[in-house]
């Protein structure tokens, strides 16, 4: 039996592409596999990522923003930074792209069963969290978790991702969504304040609750102590690490922190694991 070559990108096409933020730095791509059987074979869970490749430019890892419950929809949100991301920002709808994945361990959905869910997101790291939240808001899975509390912050209102969904979530009662910005502007009516302070204010009980936190290093640095202060035990705080990756399958050695490979053993880790890893960030 011929072993599958994990490095060969599966051909796909860009169905829809639109700019998310006012500073044009974030763009969401909706992809569709060219071949139907690739689409069938593609099963993923929230928190996993894929390596998107543009021939001639290279490859880069992106968290899957869509949820498995959205019937085969596959969306990624790209922050424009380097050669590959710029190329991803420039390609038009209908052009080709290569996908490798699903990669990484994704969120431990089993462990979330029967617990409350506290989701804290910051900036453009909200992609995998959106997948997680959408998964649990789906009627079939809503019952698996009890209380869902979401705190999502961004620097400015224009930089918030998935604005329509945020509004629709706001209207639902089975989810408590708090959206905050560091600096408001004249027509921003919502909360203004840093995520750690908002968390302190909200002070959700840590009893039987799992916290999932993703965001820029500075936000995590100031939010973790707040969570610990609210008696969240280390093993019930999960985060998804952002690291330089190349192969995505734990071979090329690029993404290791200590003995763990972020791409294979992560990117989702609980704080207990991270604690005893060498401080190599």
């Amino acid at each position: 039996m011929k072993v599958k070559n994990p490095y060969l990108p599966i051909p796909a096409v860009v169905k829809r592409a639109y700019i998310e933020t006012t500073d044009h730095m974030l763009r969401t791509l909706e992809l569709k596999f060219l071949k139907e059987e690739d689409a069938q074979a593609f099963h993923f869970i929230p928190g996993q990522f894929c390596e998107l490749s543009i021939f001639g430019k290279g490859e880069a890892p992106f968290g899957i923003a869509s949820s498995p419950t959205e019937d085969g929809r596959l969306t990624f949100t790209i922050n424009k930074a380097g050669v590959v991301t710029t190329a991803l920002h420039h390609i038009e709808e209908g052009s080709e792209i290569g996908i490798r994945g699903p990669l990484g361990n994704g969120y431990p959905m089993e462990l979330f069963k029967g617990k409350n869910l506290l989701v804290i997101g910051g900036g453009f790291a909200f992609t995998t969290l959106r997948s997680l939240i959408t998964y649990f808001l789906h009627p079939a899975n809503r019952s698996q978790v009890n209380q869902i509390t979401v705190i999502y912050g961004a620097r400015m209102p224009g930089l918030l991702l998935y604005k329509e969904e945020l509004n629709s979530w706001q209207k639902r009662e089975d989810i408590h969504l708090v959206v905050t910005v560091d600096w408001g502007d004249k027509d921003w009516k919502g909360k203004v304040g840093l995520v750690p302070n908002v968390l302190e204010e909200l002070a959700p009980s840590s009893e039987n609750t799992i916290a999932v936190i993703c965001g820029p290093p500075m936000m995590i640095k100031f939010t973790l102590p707040k969570l610990v202060a609210l008696q969240f035990p280390d093993e019930r705080i999960y985060t998804s690490l952002e690291r330089r990756m190349k192969c995505g399958i734990g071979k090329c050695g690029r993404c290791n922190i200590g003995h763990l490979y972020v791409c294979k053993d992560g990117p989702v880790f609980n704080y207990a694991q991270l604690k005893n890893l060498p401080r190599d960030d």
Binding site: F55, G56, G58, G250, C252, H259, D281
Partner: protein, 350 residues
């Protein structure tokens, strides 16, 4: 099973093999430099240099390897992967330490659900004819890392140079087909004794005093020690020690060519290069030489053992011999152990 092969028919023996195998063996590039290459004529085989600069891992994990071609035909890009190998191959002249290192790399490339098919294909279709180390150097410390100059593990066939002839031992079943070859004779008793004598003499020569034992535990608590500030100072950050190390297996993937057609290539990479962990945002988790040198030692002696239970160093001594600033990993290992010399408080320990 053991055979004797006269050196005078060695060339003809190899000629025979080459009919149905591709032969890879060290070839002399220039005075004092040799490299594993595909052999066209048996005369090219050059076994006098104790070990080649680039280790035998190159035969399984080449420094630069095209993974697949891509071509845009009619708006649709086809990818043609290049992992297939038609002809079986023979690796001749690899030393025991290099062969053991291949098994170390094997653990990484062939574990988990995603298998590195390029390495797998080459590994499966290669018969390893190891060559014993009759005269190890003073920089060799393979015995300290659980190896030995006559380690047979990992070789399919094992050659011992008796001077006029080779003693060939069959270790695994592989490569049976050519064992009934006409050049192979029955080894005499006296041959076996000389082989045994050479083996014990070689074993003594190797420095087994390097305290590799228990280094994984010791390094656990040394992550933040000032030891690293002193270790890295003399290292200028070139990539010799990682490219020449038989166990190093990091690589980078890059596209060559334009949007219309080109190829994706995998090249060796080194954790000592500043660009290795530089993120596009400009943040670099290992900004200075201190973190990078620490990463090289920690990965070999702490991280890898944690995952695969054995140290990722085979004690071949290449990184000691070829380092332009004479960084000696044995000193670094010594320095982490309780036996470190007290009076060298001041000395840098690398």
């Amino acid at each position: 099973m053991k055979w004797k092969l006269e050196k005078k028919d060695f060339q003809k023996f190899l000629q025979g093999l080459m009919e149905d195998y591709d032969l890879f063996a060290p070839v002399k590039l220039t005075e004092g430099v040799s490299e594993f290459k595909k052999i066209n004529q048996p005369e090219e085989v050059y076994l006098n240099q104790l070990f080649t600069q680039k280790p035998a891992k190159e035969v399984f994990f080449p420094q630069s390897e095209v993974m697949f071609h891509y071509e845009k035909r009619g708006g649709q890009t086809q990818t043609i992967s290049l992992e297939e190998i038609e002809r079986e191959r023979i690796l001749l002249g690899a030393k025991p330490c290099e062969i053991k290192a291949i098994s170390i790399i094997e653990k990484v490339f062939m574990s988990g659900e995603s298998i590195d098919v390029y390495f797998l294909e080459k590994r499966r279709k290669t018969i390893i004819m190891g060559l014993a180390c009759n005269h190890p150097l003073s920089t060799c410390f393979c015995t300290s890392t659980g190896g030995s100059p006559f380690l047979r593990e990992g070789s399919d066939l094992f050659l011992i140079d008796l001077g006029e002839s080779f003693l060939m031992e069959g270790i695994t079943g592989k490569g049976l087909s050519f064992q009934e070859n006409k050049f192979l004779k029955e080894p005499s008793e006296e041959d076996l004794n000389t082989a045994q004598l050479i083996e014990s003499k070689a074993f003594q020569k190797v420095d087994s005093s390097v305290p590799v034992e228990g280094i994984e535990k010791r390094l656990d608590l040394m992550m933040e020690s000032t030891f690293w500030n002193r270790v890295h100072e003399k290292c200028v950050g070139c990539r010799i020690c990682t490219y020449l190390c038989p166990t190093c297996h990091c690589f980078d993937m890059v596209d060559e060519g334009g949007p219309q057609r080109g190829q994706r290539v995998r090249n060796w990479d080194s954790c000592l290069s500043p660009l290795y962990s530089l993120e596009t945002s400009g943040h670099n988790p290992r900004p200075t030489g201190r973190e990078r040198t620490r990463q090289r030692i920690m990965h070999k002696f702490n991280y890898y053992p944690k995952i695969y239970g054995q140290v990722a160093c085979v004690g071949c001594g290449r990184c000691i011999l070829y380092c332009p600033v004479h960084f000696d990993i044995r000193k670094a290992i010594l320095w982490t152990s309780p036996k470190r010399p007290k009076k060298y408080e001041e000395r840098s320990s690398s």
